[in-house]
């Protein structure tokens, strides 16, 4: 199978390049800097050919090479104990990390960004974000089982927000629903800092048996290299280098052609086809084609293997026969995979392709030369050491420094500020404040989004939005399953990046523990502005330092992730937004704890203590204030709280658990009541007395390491004893009231659940229809 039309180009061969050292090359247009181009010339000992230049430019882009963050990211690999490594089957560096679940099961998960494409073309950008992360999961040998999508948009009432929101949500749904992957959670934040640079992150999780783990390497001389799936087209050319590694401004033409176009049906077929290949052990190595397309797949496979690779580029099946060699190498057309197959397995491989009607073409073979050689009708157009393309790209020690403005921002506390004037205290004011909070853009119901996603497909979804974590069953016999949560708070991180990143981890950890799962591993998507701005670089460095320190303290390793830089409009960066995903394990998903109470008369306990921490809070956000210091991080307390929640779930001591985070106790009480439409009677006098805070603070402070739980009467003594034995603050603050249809809080006017629900659910439909 070869392309019908092989167009004769004026091919820039290696031989020609050697003879014409002075030819001008468009390296700047491809996003390379002068020093980087000089380095390529040095590595090759001559000028690169057009095709080589295309490869280096995408593979040395920020998006693919992590050149600005690499020096800092090392900490994730260094701050790891033996204990943390014990369940890590595959660590950072592969397509996705793999964690041991026991019973022969393994789980792989990863979170990635697709921010810039989702601004330029929201539907396709978001759709292919899902597609790309799912292919990373398949590449590990796993069956993908669920997706999640943390989203951050501009101001809810800005005219452009609806464009991005509608497109991104429809794209995630349109692609994910068609793949048959339940969408089990995510985030939704509106903030004008994301107006020109929304964040569309996507997480996928997959499961496999230990023996099915596959890695991306090309080994064994004479093994064949095959490209299969969709044909290669002209979409997404330069996506990684041009889009993901630059900031937007209004002066340049639209970058729409650099966004890939997704075909979810092709991806679904590709998933089933790959799983059948794995089942028959028909591939030696496999790599998905994402950013940088064939450039990335060939150089990474060859570089991770033990030899070299030779590939004939005219064998690539094309959608558009006019594509040049450079374009073919850079194209980011979706739904493609590259694999290495032994000669004995060729027939069986082709049978699987034919069964699923997937197109494929044999491109070449693995060699022992240590070189990646790409030919065009037999003429050599690429002859490189694959390591120099895939792994030995430039690494920058970007200058960074604590911004001059950081002190003044931190000195500007909400308490006592102009925006804090008229703080609610009377019962009517507090009731209005609670209602305003739960109807606010960031705290309102996300149902408008989540009802556009299939959460049922697969039949293994034990919990999904709006519960704290998504829970998916892995083993139908034993009930073994995983829980996942993603969190980030750009406002906290802006106020104090080291702490902000730790707070993101703490919240995701808490959410997983709240579901009853034992946290095991972390994946992170670090969304920041331009690394060339020392202020931003400092935010990034601090966030990585904070996150890696916190992972060490909580004892859970980072197994993979992604860095997304240049998220800014002109010179204004987004809030630093490290999105942290935590994966946990449940021995039996039957024991998972939902976030709402149901049984009349159960006791409601608040775990943890409350301090006056309103800086960076949702309440201060509603009043238009951002300053001061974020809530304190106490990882020892988070760990202790986690252990209590996990034990309580395992031993049936709690029926509901909800973590306290954005919006504090007020948001948690409303959400736990609305979850099943069952109210509660709450009295906070004892808490106010014990912690020395007023009612407003008790309700709206965002102090960390807290959760509310509902405890069956028969379990109350045992539960209290457990908390006491562990020395963890616990206080009975109320009881579940099934009959009343309302949330009663002493000192706050009565809140009917109907009115709360209406306020909570009306916001997104109001803005988005």
């Amino acid at each position: 199978m070869t392309t019908e039309t092989t167009k004769k180009f004026n091919i820039d061969t290696v031989e020609h390049a050697a003879k014409t050292p002075d030819t001008e090359l468009p390296w700047a247009e491809l996003g390379l800097k002068q020093n980087e181009f000089d380095e390529i010339v040095k590595v090759l000992g001559r000028r690169p050919t057009g095709a080589e230049l295309a490869m280096y430019s995408v593979m040395w882009s920020e998006h693919c090479s992590y050149k600005s963050s690499k020096n800092h990211l090392r900490q994730f690999g260094e701050k790891v104990t033996e204990e943390m490594k014990k369940d890590m089957l595959v660590g950072i560096g592969e397509n996705a990390g793999v964690t041991n679940l026991g019973d022969g099961w393994a789980v792989t998960f990863k979170i990635e960004s697709h921010n810039s494409p989702s601004f330029v073309e929201p539907y396709q950008g978001a759709a292919t974000g899902i597609g790309g992360i799912v292919r990373d999961i398949i590449s590990m040998g796993a069956r993908p089982v669920a997706v999640m999508d943390p989203l951050r948009f501009g101001a809810i009432d800005h005219p452009d927000t609806a464009r991005v929101m509608h497109g991104a949500v429809a794209g995630i749904g349109g692609y994910g629903n068609c793949l048959g992957l339940p969408n089990i959670g995510g985030e939704m934040v509106f903030d004008s800092v994301y107006q020109g640079n929304p964040l569309v992150n996507a997480l996928a999780v997959g499961v496999m048996r230990h023996e099915d783990i596959r890695l991306a390497n090309a080994s064994g001389k004479g093994n064949k290299v095959v490209l299969f799936g969709a044909r290669t087209g002209g979409d997404g050319i330069g996506g990684a280098s041009v889009l993901a590694s630059e900031s937007f401004d209004d002066t340049k033409p639209s970058k729409r052609p650099a966004v890939q176009v997704g075909d979810p049906f092709a991806e679904k077929v590709l998933i089933e086809c790959c799983l059948e290949l794995f089942k028959g052990s028909l591939v030696e190595g496999i790599q998905d084609l994402g950013a940088a397309g064939i450039s990335c797949a060939t150089s990474e496979l060859a570089s991770n293997g033990d030899g070299g690779m030779e590939v004939e580029l005219t064998s690539v099946l094309l959608r558009d026969p006019t594509l040049t060699p450079g374009e073919i190498l850079m194209s980011e057309s979706q739904e493609r995979m590259m694999a290495v197959v032994t000669p004995e397995n060729i027939a069986a491989f082709e049978a699987v392709m034919d069964k699923w009607a997937v197109e494929y073409s044999w491109l070449g073979e693995v060699t022992d030369t240590g070189r990646l050689i790409i030919t065009w009708e037999g003429e050599v157009i690429v002859d490189v050491d694959p390591r120099t393309v895939a792994h030995d790209g430039p690494v920058y020690d970007r200058p960074f420094a604590r911004p001059e403005w950081q002190d003044s921002v931190q000195a500007n506390s909400f308490t006592g500020s102009v925006e804090d004037a008229g703080r609610p205290s009377a019962p009517t004011e507090l009731a209005a404040a609670v209602t305003e909070l739960v109807a606010s853009p960031n705290m309102c119901s996300k149902a408008w989004i989540t009802k556009q996603y299939d959460r049922y497909v697969g039949g293994n979804t034990a919990m999904a939005f709006p519960d704290d974590a998504g829970v998916v069953r892995v083993d139908e016999e034993t009930g073994l399953g995983v829980a996942l949560a993603t969190d980030a708070n750009g406002r906290y991180t802006y106020l104090e990046p080291y702490q902000g990143a730790q707070l993101a981890l703490a919240e995701a950890y808490r959410n997983v523990a709240t579901s009853g799962a034992v946290p095991m591993a972390v994946s992170d998507c670090l969304n920041f502005g331009s690394p060339e701005d020392p202020d931003v670089m400092w935010q990034l460095a601090e966030a990585i330092r904070g996150l890696s320190d916190a992972c060490m303290e909580l004892g859970i390793p980072v197994t993979g992730g992604n860095v997304s830089l240049y998220n800014q409009t002109g010179t204004t960066p987004i809030h630093p937004s490290p999105v942290v995903a935590v994966l946990g394990k449940l021995d039996d998903v039957a024991r998972r704890t939902p976030s709402g109470w149901r049984e009349d008369g159960q006791a409601i306990y608040l775990l943890g203590t409350t301090a006056a921490e309103l800086d960076g809070s949702e309440w201060s956000n509603l009043r238009g204030h951002l300053g001061g210091l974020p809530p304190k991080v106490d990882l020892a307390a988070e760990r202790a709280l986690g252990e209590i929640l996990i034990n309580a779930s395992r031993d049936g001591m709690v029926d509901a658990a909800h973590d306290l985070s954005e919006g504090g106790l007020a948001a948690a009480l409303v959400e736990s009541s609305l979850r099943y439409g069952v109210g509660a009677r709450i009295a906070l006098e004892e808490l106010m007395e014990r912690d020395g805070v007023d009612l407003f603070t008790a309700l709206f402070s965002e102090t960390q390491a807290r959760a509310i739980v509902s405890v069956p009467r028969s379990e109350e003594v045992r539960f209290k004893d457990m908390c006491t034995a562990r020395g963890f603050a616990h206080l009975r603050i109320g009881v579940v009231d099934a009959a009343g249809g309302k949330l009663e809080i002493n000192g706050v006017d009565e809140l009917s659940l109907d009115a709360l629900r209406e306020a909570h659910e009306a916001t997104l439909p109001k803005y988005f229809g």
Partner: protein
């Protein structure tokens, strides 16, 4: 302790050897998504699920067939329009129309394939609100005499998940009148019509009652803890199991 059932507990279905002997085929097309779910539903109901591949030219010795949901061929042309031409479909059409009246259930995309195959009248177009919708949907069983509904009672309300993009059932008035008159409207949406379907129709049958198609997904409501949420404290997560026990009852000739 709590009276709320834990999820994942085995669904109580009497293990009857005669049920296990009943084979129900589950068809997979490229782009089918809910085939494993349908097979699980068959197993939980006590039967044996058999995987069928769209390109096969023989149906084998199955006693009934389920065409599950998904996006066969991506729904890029018109939902079900390409799958209808699969080699296996012509066998299914013949068997459904034969003396033996093979029971056939089409769920969501399967329903769309059945209308494209003309085993069932009418068609599905895009939801009236133009968006994908996923929700727990209340249905009223309007006819408990089909091969797939004998374990329900007429007028019974059940809750099963609904999830679709092209779920708006349409047909000309004459056809709709005929369906109503012949008792072939098998399920109707209750409380909320999620897609603008004519006369709130969620599912219909052929004249003989062996072929049933519906948009909602009973196979997602067969296992405690994995189906729709409880309503007013009543667990409703296994309301869909009746589809699968019904057909098994029918196959093994049980009295109902």
């Amino acid at each position: 302790m709590t009276s709320i059932p834990l999820i994942g507990e085995a669904v109580a279905v009497a293990a009857e050897p005669r049920l296990a002997g009943a084979k129900i085929g589950v068809v997979t097309f490229p782009g089918t998504l809910d085939d494993r779910d349908a097979a699980r539903a068959v197993r939980l109901a006590g039967g044996t699920a058999v995987s069928l591949w769209h390109a096969d030219s023989e149906l084998g010795d199955v006693d009934a067939v389920i065409i599950p949901g998904g996006f066969s061929y991506g729904d890029y042309l018109r939902a079900g329009a390409i799958s209808r031409f699969a080699p296996l479909m012509s066998k299914i059409i013949d068997a459904a129309n034969s003396e033996a009246k093979l029971p056939v259930l089409g769920i969501c995309n399967g329903f769309q394939i059945l209308t494209e195959s003309h085993l069932l009248p009418g068609s599905m177009i895009k939801n009236d609100h133009l968006k994908f919708i996923c929700r727990d949907q209340t249905l009223r069983v309007e006819n408990a005499n089909t091969a797939w509904t004998v374990d329900y009672t007429d007028g019974q309300e059940i809750i099963v998940p609904l999830k679709n993009q092209d779920g708006q059932y349409i047909a000309d008035e004459k056809t709709l009148d005929a369906l109503e008159a012949e008792g072939r409207v098998v399920f109707r949406y209750v409380g909320f019509n999620p897609n603008g379907s004519r006369r709130d129709i969620a599912g219909i049958s052929n004249a003989a009652g062996n072929v049933v198609g519906l948009m909602p997904h009973p196979e997602h409501a067969v296992e405690t803890g994995f189906g729709p949420e409880s309503l007013n404290g009543e667990p409703r997560d296994t309301d869909g199991l009746g589809f699968f026990t019904s057909v098994l009852t029918k196959i093994v000739g049980g009295d109902k």
